[in-house]
């Protein structure tokens, strides 16, 4: 079975040149991940509700549709999952190995993963929706991961 072509599933920046810092970075990361891991377009299509990601300075919302992903500045719509993290935590999250479309989060059983879990447990890394939408939360991490 052939994988979908990443270019058939573009990543759009809703605010274009006015996109804030994290929106631009997330859009670049998603674009490159779809090029490197074309099978992740199928994972993106499973994210039926928006998710938002915040660092200290700014927030973006990722909305995955059937034909494209749109990254918005700030919070748009009603995200089912909201990740609020420091840059270091986002760097760690994006280096977690996730298998089975995120449902097998093997990266959490590493030193880096345990560090993240501790940060979540202590509230230093906030993942709103982790309890109510755990699969979505895991899929978002899998989508943003740079690890194959």
């Amino acid at each position: 079975m052939s994988h979908p072509i990443a270019s058939d599933y573009p990543v759009n920046l809703d605010d274009g040149a006015e996109a804030n810092g994290i929106a631009g970075v997330v859009a670049t990361l998603l674009t490159q991940n779809f090029e490197n891991f074309p099978e992740r377009t199928a994972l993106a299509r499973k994210l039926t509700r928006p998710v938002s990601v915040s660092d200290i300075d700014s927030t973006c919302t990722i909305s995955c549709g059937p034909r494209a992903v749109t990254v918005f500045n700030d919070v748009v719509g009603q995200p089912s999952v909201t990740v609020t993290a420091t840059v270091d935590q986002i760097l760690d999250l994006s280096q977690l190995k996730m298998k089975a479309s995120g449902l097998l989060p093997v990266g959490f059983f590493t030193k880096r993963g345990r560090h993240i879990l501790a940060a979540i447990a202590t509230g230093n890394l906030k993942v709103w929706g982790l309890i109510t939408h755990p699969i979505t939360a895991l899929r978002v991490i899998a989508l943003l991961s740079v690890v194959s």
């Binding site: 810092g21 970075v25 740079v146």
Partner: protein, 140 residues
């Protein structure tokens, strides 16, 4: 006569390369994901200042060459970072780590992959953080 070096001048680049020895070189290499395979050329450019560019050649995780005039061909550039002078200064003087500037979009990754930038973010912090120890004249 001044004892400071103009940012991204050839003299400044030579000083930056010379500084990446000993403990700093060890820390730099350790921060890389795979130092043995870290053979590439990085470009640093000040936004809207085409005269302020420097290229760094890294071999096996260590700085081998750094220049503002003897620049490498475009096809050899592995990654390019573009930021304002103020943001380069922020990174150099430790106010904001370079990786935070990249992840916050203030230092643009104009060439290269986010994967490499993320996996080697801490090495970038070490590399640019060390610029703060150089006697830099930022009035360029």
């Amino acid at each position: 006569m001044t004892d400071t070096l103009k940012f991204f001048s050839e003299e400044w680049c030579a000083a930056a390369a010379a500084a990446h020895q000993g403990d700093l070189a060890v820390r730099q290499a350790k921060a890389l994901r795979d130092p043995a395979k870290a053979n590439y050329i990085l470009a640093f450019e000040v936004a809207d200042r085409p005269d302020l560019i420097s290229h760094v050649e890294i071999v096996a995780g260590h700085v081998k060459n750094w220049s503002a005039t003897n620049l490498y061909p475009e096809d050899q550039i592995f990654a390019r970072f573009v930021a304002t002078l103020e943001h380069f200064r922020d990174a150099a003087q430790g106010r904001t780590p370079a990786a935070n500037l990249v992840m916050g979009g203030k230092m643009r990754l104009a060439k290269g992959t986010m994967k490499d930038a993320i996996e080697n973010a801490r090495a970038l912090n070490v590399l640019m953080g060390a610029w703060g120890d150089l006697p830099t004249d930022w009035d360029v």
